[in-house]
Symmetry: C2
Subunit: 444 residues, 2 copies
């Protein structure tokens, strides 16, 4: 009976553990995590502030009980302090008892994820500089926020925008600082987020796009911008990019320049029988090589795939299309793959972009906007962006499948789809956009 140890009990680690137990019922599968719970959803703090769940413990994609019922052994509150990949054991400290124990393994899966930090605050240890990625820091953040009147959110990507809305819902005065000239630039071209930026300002948020943070200072707590402005804050929430949490093993496995762990197409590291998953690894991105893309959907899939590969190379790492969807300030947004800007910068041929508007359905005339980005000659779809006040999130999966399969606008235009009068318009927007994109190319 072989034994697999997984370091990290978030999406990637647990997905790997559960899949491994299903595939190899005789395998001993142990998961180590320094947190006292498993399955915390990184945006859990927002769910609480938005009153969408009662408490952080409910912001969980799986319970400890379910994991144990699947036969996975959980070592919670255990911090792994050392790994010996030659001798195949690791050393973990029970954070309650401080007892240190060594655990042997046959296969090791690294799933320590990423951490929410940044060079600006990495040297500071101030209680009012909050982050929300694990349940411990989210609990602390909620405590700090109880007495905070003004909160500065640094970073206007998905994390920052969603946190900003939750803080507004919790009646905080919020300043949102984004270094780029528009919000969520990795996902949306500026024209597509204008209405969202307007909605954010209407509710009273002090929105600072194109504002670079020069430094964060304490006593009193404040953010100093490169243009000299000083913004005082009762709390600062770091919504900036995540960084791979690879330091535990950085002297034993090969790293990429961005501190992710190098992996084979089958997610094995440079050390045999040691795998890495989730935010620790780079992901194949569209047709653009590999990148660090810290998204839950990547974490889950990489964990599952590593499980399939524990005994033999079976499944190659899956491609990411940076699929995101969210409801922010009453607007649903969806992004799959490239923006127009990104496509123009990376495509070997000219790029064609069309934007179409359609009613949501027969009985709901809420407009839906879709921007479809294609190669002008072949019609291959490079990216799709949607926005509406009605719920368009499930379109993300269809668009991801179309782009992931390399479909052209023509192929998508005539693909079979559902017609149901109360829920869809006669020619639903994604097929209509594809049709118009194709017609535009035919006309040329």
């Amino acid at each position: 009976m072989s034994k697999t140890i997984i370091i990290g009990g978030s999406f990637a680690g647990l997905s790997c553990a559960l899949q491994a137990k299903q595939l190899y019922p005789d395998m001993e599968v142990q998961v180590f995590d320094s947190q006292e719970t498993v399955g915390f959803i990184p945006s859990g703090m927002n769910l609480v502030l938005n009153h969408e769940v009662d408490q952080l413990e409910a912001a969980s994609f799986i319970s400890e009980k379910e994991v144990r019922a699947a036969g996975v052994q959980l070592y919670l509150g255990h911090q792994v302090v050392e790994v010996d990949m030659k001798a195949k054991w690791l050393r973990a400290k029970n954070l309650k008892t401080q007892v240190i124990t060594d655990y042997p393994y046959d296969q090791l899966v690294l799933a320590m994820g990423s951490k929410q930090t940044g060079h600006l605050v990495a040297h500071l240890d101030h209680p009012a500089i909050i982050s929300t990625k694990d349940i411990g820091s989210a609990h602390h953040a909620l405590e700090v926020l109880e007495d905070a009147g003004h909160v500065v959110v640094v970073g206007g990507g998905q994390i920052g925008i969603e946190a900003c809305e939750a803080l507004v819902n919790a009646n905080k005065q919020v300043t949102l600082i984004e270094a780029n000239d528009s919000l969520a630039e990795r996902y949306f071209d500026p024209d597509f987020v204008e209405e969202i930026e307007a909605a954010i300002e209407i509710v009273g948020v002090d929105l600072r796009v194109g504002s670079k943070v020069a430094s964060v200072e304490t006593d009193p707590l404040r953010v100093i911008l490169e243009d000299g402005d000083e913004i005082y804050a009762d709390a600062i929430l770091m919504g900036v990019n995540l960084f791979p949490n690879s330091s535990l093993v950085s002297d034993q496995v090969e790293l990429n320049p961005d501190k992710t762990i190098w992996t084979s197409p089958y997610l094995e590291t440079s050390v045999t029988d040691v795998f890495a998953v989730g935010d620790l690894v780079q992901v194949p991105y569209a047709d653009q090589g590999r990148d660090f893309i810290a998204l839950v959907n990547n974490a889950i899939r990489s964990g599952q795939i590593a499980a399939f590969n524990l005994k033999e190379n079976r499944v190659k790492q899956a491609t990411s299309l940076r699929v995101i969807g969210s409801r922010i300030f009453s607007q649903y947004v969806v992004s799959v793959a490239k923006t127009e800007h990104e496509a123009n910068g990376t495509s070997a041929q000219p790029v064609q972009t069309i934007t179409v508007t359609a009613d949501y359905s027969l009985t709901d005339s809420t407009p839906v906007y879709l921007k479809l980005i294609t190669e002008a000659e072949t019609g291959r779809i490079l990216g799709a962006k949607m926005r509406s006040e009605s719920n368009i999130l499930t379109y993300a999966d269809t668009l991801a499948l179309a782009i992931g399969q390399g479909l052209t606008d023509q192929e998508l235009a005539f693909q079979d789809r559902l017609y149901y009068p109360l829920e869809t318009v006669a020619n639903p927007i994604i097929y209509r956009a594809a049709l118009e994109s194709y017609a535009q190319r035919v006309a040329k």
Copy 2:
């Protein structure tokens, strides 16, 4: 300037007309229809009975005004009585004035659709034998239903079931007669519709599955079953299969044995410059050759495709996967491609079926059921069936794209998709089902 005439102003005809005007702005496009309105949705009567729209006129996917604004010339209330394909003209009667006029054309598109009839009632001309496919008959049906206490619905496919629910909502006593041993057998295996059949009986419908109609008699109006039962009715609604309405041209174009019009892969008939679309033609079905599949999504696509091909062969007729979705008796159902029974009867290799159940989302624990039917050796997906009390209709498009692109369970399992905690579970059901299907094959 060339002129295209389209006979029939329903989904296929109008889709063709609108697409033609967009592609060829200089083309004169005329649509003839004997009805006085365009764009009627065949299930419009149900929408009225369910109070989902106020009146039949609102059950329209496009208005006359919108069609005219696009530059299409509408000849409503005009019945085409003769076509001369050699001389390229047609003769139409204005039903109000009875004036007959001849109209020349360069290209002709046949879009007369299908009619709701059956050999049992084709010889009867009784006002209380109702159908609902066009707005005229739907108006008549609503009048008849006002005074009807007991309605017999013949045919337990999608049309019959949806009508049955609408009639129950309108406080009618309903008998639903289906010749097969379970409802909607073309779309669902018996195990999948058991709960729906139970729900139909709970609301008081007299459900007769496995009951063949021997004859329909009048004075008094009644249905006589093959087992001898006589069911008296104030109205009989024919929810039976549709038949192509090809008689106008049956002596001029080649027909298939099922009375559909033969077409090339580009939807041209046996006569040059004459195209046929919608319910008049057979559709490529999955990997199973061609079939008569009277669905709106096929009609729309064939109309659009014919428009692209009016001047040169550009787009081949699109494949159908018989995609349907509906909400019937508080259950949402989705069907894409084959049932297990159908797959077993047509697949060259053994068939693997798995059924998975999952919560709808983090905050909605309503169960969702998915049955995934695959080739046991390759894992290629042959069919997918879903059911839930929560709305799963939009999954239909993703499943259709996956099956349409010939994906295997493994490919779908690791396809990128949306993760959004309030709307999706960590591993949404279609990917989870694909994963379990793949894992089951790996285990063998």
